[in-house]
């Protein structure tokens, strides 16, 4: 295992200390409770928006804490859902009297831990609404299974919903917007390499020099299927087609498009994938009205990418364009 770390068990704690030092103007990091809280939290009469999940997906979620996005994030151990205590502490810290939205990615662990946290918060009379993101089209949606995973849409949703919350909108409206964004967004990912959980010390799987995994999540897991490595054009096609089909995107519609790196893929390759994505969508007369290319929701040092599309309307564009000032996303101020 080759990593820039000290001891595996200290990875999350030390990374949080580093984050705290770099972004002292934006966030407070409570190393003990393991939460990252917006500097000016709680913002009075604003809905508090929190999220959380395992570490190893940086900049998600801690990098999205700040003006116009999240009020707090709860990072768990690497690839492990945080515990209810963290979520409760974060909920308390951001409750400005207008209630708190929990943005939960659809993983059994995340869902259950957030559920317990919400129960505990309710016991303290803090109004909590949870919304679950489940945008990964690689996994079939079904009532009888754990369902689709929450992946790329989560990032874009946090931005849009955070902007709405910043206007002072009530909890129900903020939650509705979150559901709307989730319903109109889909993602799919692929990997060229596995990654290594620091405490595990070994790659999560082995992949041949000419193989790739299609339909991966964000936890270093193998995908839905293994395939022969092909060119960027074909990879983009493989990821984009199920998204377009599932969203039933039609000619004339506009989307917010994200090409996300899994952590170990250089930007130059992500731009190549975006170029292919643009070509594919142009061929279907779907226009990319807003876009984001880079490492936003990662799987440690895994090489690979994911594509996320969200159907846009004027309202979503407005909140996407609204100012944001977090460690990882910043514009308009």
């Amino acid at each position: 295992m080759k990593k820039l770390i000290n001891k595996p068990e200290d990875v999350v704690k030390e990374a949080l200390a580093g984050m705290a030092a770099v972004h002292a103007d934006l966030i407070n990091v409570d190393i003990e409770q393991q939460i990252i809280v917006r500097k000016d939290a709680p913002v009075k009469n604003k809905v508090g928006v929190i999220s959380g999940g395992g570490s190893g997906h940086e900049p998600m979620h801690g990098g999205y804490v700040g003006y116009g996005m999240l009020d707090a994030a709860c990072p768990g151990a690497v690839f492990t859902s945080p515990v209810p205590d963290q979520m409760l502490a974060a909920t308390r810290a951001v409750n400005g009297g207008a209630g708190v939205l929990h943005i939960v990615k659809n993983y059994t662990g995340d869902v259950m831990n957030f559920e317990m946290a919400a129960e505990l918060a309710a016991a303290e009379d803090i109004e909590v609404v949870s919304i679950v993101t489940n945008d990964d089209v690689a996994v079939q949606d079904s009532l009888y299974t754990a369902g689709r995973r929450g992946v790329g849409v989560t990032v874009l949703l946090e931005k849009i919903v955070g902007a709405l919350a910043e206007t002072g909108a009530p909890l129900a409206q903020v939650a509705d917007m979150a559901r709307q964004v989730n319903n109109h967004g889909r993602s799919m990912g692929m990997a060229l390499t596995a990654c290594t959980v620091p405490a595990a010390g070994k790659p999560t799987f082995e992949l041949g020099e000419d193989e790739m995994e299609i339909g991966i999540g964000i936890h270093g897991e193998p995908g839905r299927r293994r395939a022969k490595l092909v060119g960027a054009a074909e990879i983009a096609e493989t990821l984009t087609t199920p998204i377009i089909d599932d969203l039933e995107l039609k000619a004339g519609e506009q989307v917010l498009a994200m090409v996300n790196g899994m952590g170990g893929t250089p930007l130059i390759e992500l731009y190549i994938i975006f170029n292919e994505l643009e070509r594919i969508l142009k061929g279907k007369s779907i226009s990319i009205t807003r876009s984001l290319v880079g490492n936003y929701i990662t799987s440690l040092e895994m090489a690979g990418c994911s594509i996320t599309l969200i159907r846009l309307n004027d309202e979503l564009i407005k909140y996407w364009d609204a100012p944001v000032h977090t460690p990882a996303l910043r514009w308009g101020r």
Partner: protein, 215 residues
């Protein structure tokens, strides 16, 4: 001989030790169909439990198990944290005030734990989860209890059934938990949670079987 307060203490210590020893193995199982953390998670949780045990030497069994539950909830995270946490919490709730457990108490305790896992995780038998070790274990326990076997033998039978159930998960297609994302590709791999469940039952059985610890 009923299960005493000391037996429970011993069982929990033993569980912590076994989960520590098997940590890499459980993580390796989770690496194949999950996210390579189950051993790390269980080890972290039971290390925390172990640290609390000294403070519990005077507590009743219910309090002990509830403390185990809250400790697991607060330290494990992932899917296994709420699931094992709820299991121990529920087990503790039905053992409130008890200083020892008869066979029937034990069955009640396990039934409560199972109910907790089911309510929390919304899974059922055959979905390739810890339930596929726990459910057959409890059935075997009830059978053994009906046959008036000793507590040690009840637990031995439960452990054997859990082991068989755990092995049965190899051929299952996962429909709950992370492994479900792999669909058909999950077949051929043993479920990590079913494995940790078997290890914990085995630790219990070893505790109650006088010579087992010295094997």
């Amino acid at each position: 001989m009923p299960v005493t307060h000391e037996d429970i203490l011993h069982w929990l210590q033993q569980s912590a030790q076994v989960l520590h020893e098997y940590s890499a193995f459980l993580t390796q199982l989770d690496s194949a169909i999950g996210d390579a953390d189950h051993g790390i998670n269980m080890d972290r949780g039971f290390t925390a439990v172990n640290a609390k045990l000294t403070g519990l030497s005077d507590a009743d069994i219910g309090t002990m198990l509830k403390t185990v539950g809250t400790t697991l909830v607060s330290t494990v995270g992932g899917a296994s944290g709420p699931l094992y946490g709820t299991a121990f919490l529920r087990a503790g709730m039905v053992s409130s005030g008890k200083q020892s457990l008869e066979t029937s108490d034990l069955i009640t305790l396990f039934d409560a734990a199972l109910e907790g896992v089911k309510v929390r995780g919304k899974a059922q038998a055959g979905e390739k989860t810890m339930l596929d070790a726990l459910i057959p274990a409890i059935e075997a326990g009830k059978q053994a209890a009906a046959n008036q076997l000793s507590i040690a033998q009840v637990l031995q039978n439960m452990t054997a059934a859990a082991e068989a159930g755990m092995k049965n998960t190899i051929e299952m297609v996962a429909t709950k938990g992370r492994a479900s994302y792999l669909g058909e590709r999950s077949v051929g791999h043993q479920d990590p949670g079913a494995t940790s469940c078997w290890l914990i039952l085995q630790a219990f059985s070893d505790t109650m079987t006088p010579d087992a610890a010295h094997e």
